[in-house]
Symmetry: C2
Subunit: 125 residues, 2 copies
């Protein structure tokens, strides 16, 4: 029996950034989220720490349904060991306000066995 | 007996970025490194993980003595809980090569009691 080795953190980082640059955020998640992925936003709300593929997928679907993205500028990936950072600068309009704005944030991904074990988001001040 | 409350992660983040934007990297470290600070670079070398103020100060002094910085562009801080990310894009010349280059990296800081407990650097690919 042969097993395919997991892609390296650098391989995942490079491919994930390429998918995001092509606007394929949900596809990037589907390809790399681990079944027990944890997604951590700043703050204390219900969405602050979500666990498991269904919850994280649900957040992404909610976000995509409630925001219109006009363009995204991406810097990175920046790699150290089993983690990497990506910076997203997004030109977008939240449907709730209708006001076009720029969202500037970074994400820290922790990779285990070629999958995203944790994604942690940091908001620009 | 009164004690002064520690500055918040956001306060440290804002001040540290302001100092770095003014080129005061060593001063930012002296102000915020905890006595048992850990500094983690990518890779496996001697400098990969340094522990304690003297070691981390020594790395910074070594770096400043061996590189000439022409300018630095800083994005952030990006905050989540007790951590924040800063992106550094540095126009510099390593004295060893004499070749002017751009270093693009991000740093993830973990704050405890108003001090840097850990700084972890990620290199652009």
């Amino acid at each position: 029996m042969s097993t395919t080795p997991s892609p390296s953190t650098q391989d995942v980082a490079t491919d994930l950034v390429a998918l995001c640059k092509a606007g394929k955020f949900a596809e990037a998640g589907e390809k790399y989220w681990a079944p027990d992925v944890v997604s951590v936003e700043p703050g204390e709300g219900d969405m602050a720490a979500l666990k498991g593929l269904d919850a994280v997928r649900g957040k992404t679907e909610w976000w995509e349904a409630n925001n219109e993205v006009h363009g995204v500028e991406i810097d990175g990936p920046y790699v150290n060991g089993d983690q990497f950072v990506v910076r997203f600068k997004m030109d977008m309009t939240p449907k709730a306000t209708g006001q076009r704005t720029t969202m500037d944030e970074t994400a820290l991904y922790t990779i285990k066995d070629g999958k995203i074990a944790e994604e942690r988001f940091f908001y620009g001040m």
